[in-house]
């Protein structure tokens, strides 16, 4: 990438690396060339002819997505001839496009709408019937196809070939009867199938999960990180009225490029079902203040008598900040010695070379790093915890996160003289706990998680926590104050700064900017 090429686009000179195509070069200059079939993450098809530009010395207009830049090249992207061509291509594309916008899931983030509005805005000249095609083709477990809306850009075909690595989609027939389809008897069922919906410039491919569930333009978007596995794909949380409606990948060349897996897209469901809405004392609802006081009262005698028999459980599903505050509470102030790290068991069969990882914990590495920072080896996992509970070594336990344990272990935990739980979800252990405090789930809180490569990534709060829940770090800090510790954090960023200084693994990590809450209709990036 060392050598670069100079060229002029619309009279402005720019220097780009060799091998860049004109479309990308123009994007660098800030003027967008309309396109349907080109996608930065996919190979070039140059089939939509929407990105035609004029290159001086070249008699015909050339597709800018296909043409790589050459030294001294002179390009004009918006002269009369180019715009006329664009309009003509758009007119052809629209000839057979159904009048579906009011019932189309893509409406509001549709490239066809956008380009027509930006470049054409001419009324129709066609007065005959449009060609009709099947409206509801079930392509597989996740996708439904509306063949009429398809503009034959072939993005989805390439997405299957190049992302999932399986060739499952193809065009049949020719002319205005061409159709997207799977091979007879075959299904579109690869684990990355929903990416085809993201790349589809129109509403031809729709995800069954989101189909007719919500209008795109009414959603608000918040950048965050997927909590499905240790890969930590960057996502945008699309939500409205305190509820997530879908996750879409957020481009990040170092982690997930432009993609994410189908399983990851559904992680939002777990984050908003079966939640612990309010604090409980011995299974009965109570106000947060009362619950925290009760927790402190439960722990105090143990702290006085047998400090060594109290354990803490770090969570691989909670943010670094939550774990850090727990660590400070347990080891810096209470001087506890027994630490465990609760992590979901790995699922080897889901691992692949693309994105999916066997480790289904979003933050195992982070939890280990934090525990390590407090001199805890971090090797005490759930097995060790179960053993210690069974053998009765433990008398008290402070647990972060919702931990799933075998029944007999839960019974053992129930026999502890103090079991304080800070968790997002209901569960067996939560029912057994003396005090359970409701924590905010990942779409509801600011924080960072560490992915499998040790990359510290930022999650942003999309909406208010469910019910009476609070961020776990806040609950733990309150508990710490009740126990006489001095721990004041005005906002999570303070924790982050403190943590980054102390923990070697997090050195140089960035908190990042606060993101404004923008409704998709006003976020010009999409559609």
């Amino acid at each position: 990438m060392s050598e670069t090429v100079k060229l002029t686009i619309d009279g402005r000179e720019i220097e780009v690396p060799k091998g860049t195509n004109i479309l990308e070069a123009a994007k660098k200059l800030g003027d967008e060339i309309s396109h349907f079939c080109y996608h930065p993450g996919l190979s070039i098809a140059a089939s939509c002819r929407q990105c035609l530009v004029e290159i001086s010395g070249n008699p015909k207009l050339q597709p800018s997505c296909q043409m790589t830049v050459t030294e001294g090249m002179k390009v004009s992207t918006a002269n009369e001839r180019v715009i006329t061509a664009r309009r003509q291509m758009l007119e052809f594309t629209l000839v057979n496009h159904p009048v579906d916008c009011p019932i189309c899931d893509k409406a509001g983030e549709c490239l066809l709408q956008r380009h027509y509005f930006d470049w054409d805005r001419k009324s129709s000249r066609v007065d005959m019937d449009k060609v009709h095609k099947p409206k509801k083709v079930d392509l597989g477990p996740t996708i439904v196809l509306d063949a009429e809306r398809c503009i034959l850009c072939s993005r989805c075909i390439r997405a299957c070939d190049e992302v999932a690595g399986v060739h499952q989609l193809e065009f049949v027939n020719r002319g205005d009867h061409s159709e997207l389809t799977t091979a007879p008897g075959q299904l579109l069922d690869n684990p990355y199938s929903v990416n085809t919906v993201d790349v589809c410039p129109v509403g031809a491919l729709t995800a069954k999960d989101f189909r007719f569930a919500m209008r795109a333009w009414e959603l608000y978007t918040t950048p965050s990180v997927c909590n499905g596995c240790a890969t930590g794909c960057n996502v945008e949380v699309h939500h409205a009225a305190g509820q997530t409606h879908r996750l879409v990948p957020r481009p990040n060349p170092d982690v997930n490029k432009y993609w994410m897996c189908d399983e990851g897209r559904l992680t939002y469901k777990a984050a908003q079902t079966n939640r612990l809405a309010g604090a409980t004392i011995d299974g009965l609802p109570a106000s947060p203040e009362k619950a925290i006081a009760a927790a402190a009262a439960r722990l105090q005698p143990l702290l006085d008598s047998e400090r060594g028999a109290i354990g803490v459980v770090f969570s691989a599903t909670h943010s670094n900040e939550d774990n850090w505050v727990l660590g400070r509470l347990a080891h810096e102030f209470l001087g506890l010695q027994r630490a465990y790290i609760a992590a979901r068991a790995p699922v080897p069969e889901r691992a692949d070379k693309i994105l999916r990882d066997a480790d289904v914990n979003p933050n195992l590495k982070g939890a280990r790093a934090v525990a390590g920072a407090f001199g805890q080896s971090g090797q005490g996992d759930l097995v060790a915890l179960a053993a210690d509970l069974r053998s009765g070594k433990l008398r008290g336990l402070i647990v972060l996160g919702d931990v799933v344990l075998p029944d007999d272990v839960v019974d053992a935990a129930a026999r502890l003289s103090a079991l304080v739980l800070v968790t997002t979800h209901q569960g067996a252990l939560e029912r057994a706990a003396h005090v359970a405090l409701p924590a905010a789930a990942w779409p509801e809180m600011h924080g960072t998680i560490t992915n499998r490569d040790g990359r510290v990534q930022r999650m942003r709060a999309a909406y208010e926590p469910a019910g009476k829940a609070l961020p776990a770090w806040e609950l733990l800090a309150k508990l710490a104050r009740k126990l006489g510790a001095t721990m004041e954090y005005p906002y999570p960023r303070a924790i982050f700064k403190e943590m980054v200084e102390k923990v070697a693994a997090f050195a140089g990590a960035e908190w990042g900017k606060e993101a404004q809450l923008v409704q998709l209709r006003f976020a010009n990036s999409r559609g």
Partner: protein
């Protein structure tokens, strides 16, 4: 540059040219007697009080009948206009502007449309007829504003008849405006780039005739009350404000003009076609409540004059700008072709895209200079929208005006500040 010269204030029937203290008037000082020792007492007026039209709350400290101190508290009607606007497209904001100064909604509509057009830089492209229609409706709206203000405050001073008469005239104008806009009060008639629809056929003749009758009502009220002794006793020398004070405190509109400053946006920074209109700007000389009353009284006649000139000057033509990014396509295209559908969809759902930049645009509202400060970020909704509400600045001096006055003076002072909750607290 020097000020443009203004014609003198016309002398009206029923208004004595020079003011003399009416015989038998008891000065306020007569009410304070040394015989009655008083002690300061805090009284809470409002937020729901017969003497307050609107929901303002006053904590006044009275010493006998005298007001020693007054603390005016707002916010009981704060409807978050600016926050709502940040979440709505420019077109969706028009209904909110209706409810700013809900006594003259069309002035706000026009003011906001002008602001967005300035941000879009299409002010020159607006069709002539649309501009004339905007002037007509906003002047009619100004008349309803003043009728309500004067009628209501007369009623609060006990002149119920005036209230009924002026309300009668207001009903006429509501009915006429309803024929144009489809709504009696909250019209949402103006759009970015023009107006929704043309005037109905035969409307102009009807309104010409209607205006003469409105004028008659105004004269009737004027002759009945302007010279009335009781009325003048209540209004004259109440809450006077000097020219310098008025400017320093950011007064505009009738209040400022009553203090002797001839500042009228329609003259000083003509928008629409006000530079083609021939009308006078009345100014007072004392800046007391009576002046404010009379200025409004005269302004109504001037507005009628403007409307008549518009009727004479306007010609047939388009009523909205011809631009596919701003004006909606015809409905048959929307329903039958994908092109029209997309065009309609994008304008409605994404809104009118305004290029990034900050503009402040102002016009003459019912109460004075109505300004809109728009911060656009290139999307279909304002990044920030600030509204400069005229009566917000007039009302904040009410406390100073009633200091050391009598409790009964609160009524005229507030009536003439024309406190409109929706506009003042937005």
């Amino acid at each position: 540059m020097q000020e443009p010269s203004k014609p003198p204030v016309p002398v009206l029937p029923g208004v004595p040219a020079q003011r003399t203290v009416v015989l038998g008037q008891r000065g306020a000082q007569d009410l304070d007697s040394d015989g009655l020792p008083t002690e300061p007492m805090k009284i809470n007026m409002g937020p729901s009080h017969p003497a307050m039209h609107g929901t303002v709350r006053m904590v006044i400290t009275v010493d006998g009948e005298r007001i020693r101190d007054a603390d005016i508290q707002l916010g009981y009607m704060h409807r978050c206009f600016e926050k709502e606007s940040e979440y709505a497209t420019y077109t969706q904001i028009f209904p909110y502007t209706d409810r700013l100064n809900y006594v003259s909604p069309l002035c706000n509509n026009v003011g906001f449309a002008l602001a967005v057009e300035k941000a879009l830089d299409i002010t020159r492209k607006i069709p002539e007829r649309a501009q004339y229609i905007r002037m007509i409706v906003s002047e009619l709206s100004r008349i309803t504003d003043h009728l309500t203000c004067l009628g209501a405050s007369s009623m609060e001073l006990g002149a119920f008849t005036i209230f009924l008469w002026m309300l009668k005239a207001r009903e006429w104008l509501f009915t006429d405006l309803e024929e144009v806009t489809g709504a009696r009060l909250t019209h949402s008639y103006v759009r970015v780039g023009g107006v929704v629809a043309d005037l109905p056929t035969g409307w102009i003749e009807k309104v010409r005739d209607r205006l003469t009758r409105v004028e008659a009502v105004i004269d009737e009220c004027d002759q009945t009350i302007s010279g009335l002794r009781i009325f003048r006793d209540r209004m004259e020398n109440v809450g006077p404000f000097t020219r310098e004070q008025a400017i320093a405190w950011g007064w505009t509109g009738p209040a400022l003009r009553s203090a002797g400053v001839d500042y009228d946006v329609r003259k000083d920074a003509p928008y629409l076609f006000y530079d083609r209109m021939e009308f006078d700007v009345p100014v007072g000389d004392r800046g007391d409540c009576y002046d404010r009353f009379m200025v409004r009284m005269i302004e109504m006649r001037q507005s009628i004059k403007i409307v008549r000139q518009c009727f004479d000057q306007m010609k047939p033509g388009d009523v909205i700008v011809d631009d596919g990014r701003i004006a909606l396509p015809p409905k048959n295209e929307v329903y039958n072709s994908i092109e029209g559908m997309i065009n309609h969809f994008k304008i409605i759902m994404d809104g009118i895209r305004v290029p990034p930049g900050e503009t402040y645009s102002y016009s003459e509202g019912g109460n004075g200079e109505l300004g809109f400060f728009i911060v656009a970020d290139g999307s279909g909704r304002p990044y920030k929208l600030h509204c400069r509400a005229p009566c917000f600045y007039v009302l904040q001096t009410a406390g100073a005006q009633i200091k050391n006055a009598l409790i009964s003076d609160i009524v005229p002072v507030f009536g003439m500040a024309n406190y409109i909750a929706g506009e003042c607290e937005r």
